[in-house]
């Protein structure tokens, strides 16, 4: 945290927990009898409640998207570079809502919450939730906040899938969907990487079939490995080369198997830090939600038929070096929207950082995002 709050920051923010008593029927057939959602909001809801923007988070994200929780906080929220006064999602004009999704481990009901049936934490008994389920829970959140229609639903990666699902599940409840660095479905390679991550977790002796909390254990090594392999897929060969090259931590080879290259120690550090803060069951759940997302499935695998349900306008953005969800995946989505005669704009942004580029504003990314959101805001004011 800097000595003073930057002028383009939303400043100090406080999360709030909203409790929902109406049961939520899930895609799996199970039901959550009641649940909590942790939410942060930035900006002010206008009189006719038409300026609300929903932010959907990605795999390891949460409700803290912008600003600082305290003056001691080292870093602001995960998308602070895009949310704030004068930023692409301008909090002078929009009322921004950001939540931790169900199944998460940052305060919303998930595997670490207490199971009302047993009095113990859910652990592996927490039901598998899907993108559709999340969107349904977000619709209840919108009801609670008195928001009939979002000005926009915005998300990157897994968050983009939620924005897309909103357009299909609740076509009349959003005017724009901004789908960044996302895909209409995972490829076999994407699922394969998820499987490696899950296998790393489930084969950790400290995993105890997901009941590690009952054993006062944490599958740290598994989570660390899962994050390390995941992290590789978020970066690009070029950006890793730029950042680390073949740089060694010490001057000469030591002819052993400890972390000798800088990239090794970086990955280990990222993995370790993640394993201390993230829940293993949540990681399994989030990767499964990714695997299952496939809106075309309900329409004989015809994505255009699925997209013809949508009523909102779309902005789709991809990044040139993203090999996790490549520009070709975004183009597949855009072509389905074109065939369905939906309003869609698309650009492939040249950026070296691979999948992570959606978190890092470049001049073109910022220009496009700002221009589009400015138009969304102008519609609100009319």
């Amino acid at each position: 945290m800097p000595d003073s709050l930057p002028p383009d920051s939303v400043g100090l923010v406080e999360p709030q927990t909203l409790h929902f008593d109406e049961p939520l029927a899930l895609a799996s057939g199970q039901t959550l009898p009641h649940y909590d959602l942790v939410v942060e909001t930035y900006g002010t809801l206008n009189a006719d409640r038409s300026n609300a923007v929903l932010i959907c988070h990605a795999l390891s994200g949460h409700h803290h998207a912008a600003g600082y929780h305290s003056l001691d906080e080292r870093k602001p929220g995960w998308w602070d570079r895009c949310i704030g006064p004068g930023k692409p999602i301008d909090t002078n004009r929009f009322f921004v809502v950001s939540l931790n999704n169900l199944g998460g481990c940052h305060g919303s009901t998930g595997p670490t919450s207490t199971n009302p049936d047993t009095g113990h934490c859910y652990g592996p008994d927490f039901p598998v939730v899907t993108v559709k389920d999340w969107v349904n829970s977000q619709a209840h959140l919108a009801d609670r906040l008195g928001i009939k229609q979002w000005a926009a639903v915005v998300g990157g990666s897994l968050g983009g899938m939620q924005a897309l699902q909103w357009s299909l599940s609740y076509p009349d409840r959003l005017r724009h969907a901004v789908v960044i660095a996302s895909t209409p479905r995972l490829t076999a390679q994407n699922i394969a990487f998820n499987e490696v991550a899950r296998k790393a977790i489930t084969s950790d002796p400290e995993f105890f079939d997901g009941r590690y909390a009952d054993h006062n254990a944490t599958p740290r090594r598994g989570l660390m490995l899962a994050r390390m392999v995941g992290h590789i897929t978020y970066l690009s060969d070029a950006s890793m080369g730029e950042k680390f090259g073949r740089e060694l931590r010490e001057e000469a080879y030591k002819f052993g198997y400890d972390a000798e290259f800088q990239v090794e120690s970086y990955l280990r550090y990222q993995g370790e830090r993640f394993s201390e803060t993230f829940d293993a069951n949540t990681y399994l759940l989030m990767t499964r939600a990714l695997d299952y997302f496939d809106p075309a499935y309900d329409y004989d695998n015809n994505l255009a038929a699925a997209m013809s349900q949508a009523r909102c306008e779309f902005l789709v953005l991809s990044f040139s070096t993203d090999w996790r969800f490549t520009p070709a995946r975004s183009e597949e989505l855009v072509n389905a929207m074109i065939a369905a005669r939906r309003k869609v704009s698309y650009a492939e942004i040249d950026a070296p950082w691979g999948h992570d580029a959606f978190l890092i504003p470049t001049p073109r990314y910022e220009d496009i995002f700002t221009a589009y959101m400015d138009r969304v805001a102008r519609e609100v004011q009319q």
Binding site: E331, A347, R364, D367, A371, R375
Partner: protein, 197 residues
């Protein structure tokens, strides 16, 4: 609005579904959306133009005709496919024309006439590749790699069984002049063709 766009606009029915190849800053599509309740998309590769389109609510797709083609669009999916001042700049104008006519019921194409008398005179007098206000480039840096004359274009249409519904010949400011009708291939600078198959 640019004068050629004013001419084109008259040939587009209300509520048409339009594809504009090389839509620039989206002026025409914006006008058609507002005044004629048209829908549709623009294709563009210039980043600033793309941003402008997005900011004004014109649906724009970043797509390079020469690299990606138009294979991602379905047969007969548009009422009108437009291309203003870009036919001479694509790698294969003949294939682009076929593709346009595959996608649209009607197509509107504009391009500069290389047989305009000033260009002929420039070449004859100086023996150098002509430069003009419509074609302000050197031979080595021009984007206009497939310049043609009205006669050339019409010969291609004849060979491809493309029916020319309308043709308007104008000067570089896109004004009608009486002499353009008299001897278009000599006196006209820019042609606006409305074609179908």
């Amino acid at each position: 609005m640019r004068a050629d766009l004013e001419i084109i606009e008259k040939w587009i029915q209300p509520q048409s579904h339009v594809l504009d190849l090389g839509c620039g800053d989206g002026t025409l599509l914006d006008y058609l959306q507002r005044e004629k309740q048209a829908t549709g998309f623009g294709l563009e590769i210039n980043p600033d133009h793309i941003t402008t389109c997005m900011g004004r609510g014109v649906s724009v797709i970043e797509q390079d005709l020469d690299i990606q083609g138009l294979g991602n669009f379905q047969d007969r999916s548009f009422d009108v496919v437009l291309m203003t001042q870009a036919l001479q700049a694509v790698r294969r104008p003949d294939i682009v024309l076929d593709e346009m006519l595959r996608l649209g019921r009607e197509c509107i194409v504009t391009f500069p006439n290389f047989a305009y008398w000033r260009l002929r005179w420039y070449l004859m007098r100086r023996g150098r590749m002509p430069e003009s206000e419509t074609l302000p480039y050197k031979w080595y840096n021009t984007p206009n790699i497939h310049l043609c004359t009205f006669k050339d274009f019409e010969a291609l249409c004849y060979r491809k069984n493309i029916h020319i519904m309308n043709r308007t010949v104008v000067d570089s400011e896109h004004r009608y002049r009486w002499f353009n009708r008299l001897w278009p291939n000599m006196l006209g600078q820019i042609a606006i063709y409305r074609i179908t198959r």
